[in-house]
């Protein structure tokens, strides 16, 4: 009696609430990303601005942890039918995403299906080339691409008697400068580096125009094999080991090398090589010294004019299984993302590369690069010269697992268990096994 009345009342209330909320409902577009700390705040600002600029769609960014965690979460969600609309996947996950044809909604198709303007040529060639299939179609939306550069401690350079405005250009100069810094006591070590795999092996190969793998570094197909145990890479790893023993180089840890930034901020190491996107962190945490920016060093006895560096970072992939309304929202959001104003703000605040040519022009017009020395080092480095087949980038399945094997061999070499040649040979063997597994699983 009373129960039924209450139940009826509740039901009516719920129905009313539901119907009214349906009228006011915005289509929600979930966006899973891996940007934490300052970068995450910037990303949320972009989403908030988009939401404020229109009322039909609402982009909801969700921080899922590191890049591997975000990718795994997205895959698990997809298998459970709970996948987000957009997921930010790092460049080493490209192979995995491209092979998952049933899960991925290619961006060029999404934009075409939703009648949104999308001109592939407006994007920066080195950025977009990484994410295009063999037919020239862009599969994912570039968002935060970076390339490694060199940061150095100008104050320490001065203390060591070096010109603070002259950065080392070649590895010979890095060795000489580091020795001087260490001998003069300006810092305990010369240089450190994040991402031994990406910066000191993959980019090394690109800069010196030597192959990383067969079939055009993997772009040509799944039957590719690794070739990074060549003379240039072996020589560089031997040098790293020698410099580590001499105390000039300090290892920052596996994967991203999380100890390396600390060494630079604590002024333990005077030179630091890492992603251009570390810029925000460097400026924020380098408290007692002045920071200089420079392109990566190279071996001038191997190549006279180094090639362009290759990209890192991530792009936005769209997953299947959402309603057409949601995809309309995704397309509109992507158009918003590629406007020069949004891109310029993101690029200038974070150190990630400008994705479109128009963004770069806008920055020049605004006088941003003139006012902020070193802010255009990354883009100049990635667009210099003509890319060769070895500097277009790399595309291998399960590349993050391969990188783990490379890190492991590097550590074994540093511990004196193997020579550089043995370490690289073992890494190539392990990597090839991983590639064959990927090929077999994705036939």
């Amino acid at each position: 009696m009373v129960h039924t009345k209450i139940a009826a009342g509740l039901l009516a209330g719920v129905a009313l609430a539901l119907s009214s909320s349906a009228v006011l409902a915005q289509t929600e577009v979930t966006w899973w990303h891996a940007m934490g700390a300052e970068l995450g705040e910037r990303l949320e600002a972009i989403a908030a601005d988009f939401n404020a600029s229109q009322t039909e769609f609402k982009v909801t960014p969700v921080f899922k942890g590191s890049y591997p965690e975000t990718l795994t979460a997205a895959i698990a969600a997809f298998r459970a039918g709970e996948q987000p609309a957009i997921v930010q996947v790092f460049e080493v996950g490209t192979g995995t995403m491209m092979a998952a044809k049933g899960a991925v909604y290619p961006v060029h198709q999404l934009m075409a299906d939703n009648n949104e303007p999308f001109d592939p040529s407006s994007f920066l060639a080195p950025v977009v080339g990484y994410y295009t299939d063999t037919a020239g179609n862009i599969l994912s939306m570039p968002f935060n691409s970076s390339t490694p550069i060199m940061y150095y401690n100008k104050t320490a350079f001065e203390k060591a008697g070096l010109d603070p405005n002259v950065a080392p250009k070649t590895w010979a100069e890095v060795e000489a400068f580091s020795k001087k810094i260490k001998d003069s006591g300006a810092a305990a070590c010369g240089f450190t580096s994040g991402w031994i795999t990406w910066v000191q092996t993959e980019n090394l190969s690109a800069l010196h125009d030597v192959p990383y793998g067969t079939l055009e570094n993997g772009f040509g197909g799944l039957a590719t094999e690794f070739q990074f145990n060549g003379p240039v890479q072996v020589k560089h790893w031997e040098n790293l080991k020698r410099w580590a023993d001499e105390g000039i180089f300090q290892y920052g840890g596996p994967v991203g090398g999380n100890d390396a930034p600390t060494k630079f901020y604590a002024q333990e190491c005077a030179i630091y090589m890492n992603s251009s996107a570390s810029r925000a962190g460097v400026i924020g945490n380098a408290k007692d010294f002045e920071v200089g920016f420079a392109p990566l060093p190279f071996y001038d006895d191997v190549i006279a004019e180094p090639k362009n560096s290759i990209i890192g970072g991530a792009t936005l992939w769209v997953l299947n299984g959402q309603s057409p309304e949601v995809y309309k929202g995704v397309a509109k959001f992507f158009t918003y993302l590629s406007t020069s104003e949004v891109q310029a703000a993101w690029h200038q605040a974070t150190g990630y590369l400008p994705i479109t040519n128009a963004t770069y022009e806008l920055g020049k017009e605004q006088g941003y690069y003139a006012a902020n020395p070193g802010s255009d080092i990354a883009i100049n480095q990635i667009t210099r010269g003509t890319p060769s087949v070895n500097s277009k980038g790399v595309r291998f399945g399960n590349l993050s697992q391969v990188r783990d094997a490379i890190d492991s061999e590097f550590e074994a070499m540093l511990a004196g268990q193997k020579s550089a040649q043995q370490a690289l040979d073992a890494a190539v063997a392990a990597g090839n096994q991983i590639l064959r597994d990927f090929e077999a699983a994705n036939q």
């Binding site: 940007m35 934490g36 700390a37 970068l39 995450g40 705040e41 990303l43 949320e44 921080f63 899922k64 942890g65 930034p261 600390t262 901020y265 604590a266 002024q267 924020g284 945490n285 408290k287 007692d288």
Partner: protein
Amino acid sequence: MVENKPFLTFLTHLVLIVGVVVVVFPVYLAFIASTREASDFLSGLTPLLPGPHLLENYGRMLNTGLCSGGAPPVWMMLANSLLMSVIIADGKTVI
């Protein structure tokens, strides 16, 4: 304890004090860390004395958290944990 040897008592206290220091030191460090800002830990040696940011840090984590850093407000997480542990404890006892 049957005999009353003062040396043994002294030894006992010594062992326990060393034990407490070893066991408590990391948590003490965590407390120190919570009273300082992030940059204090990125340069030089880990500080051993509390800093001035106690209220500020705790207030921020409890209220708004570092949403973009993957840390939702702590009061929400505390409430969730409390709810979960009560339900699980009751469930286990009943079942």
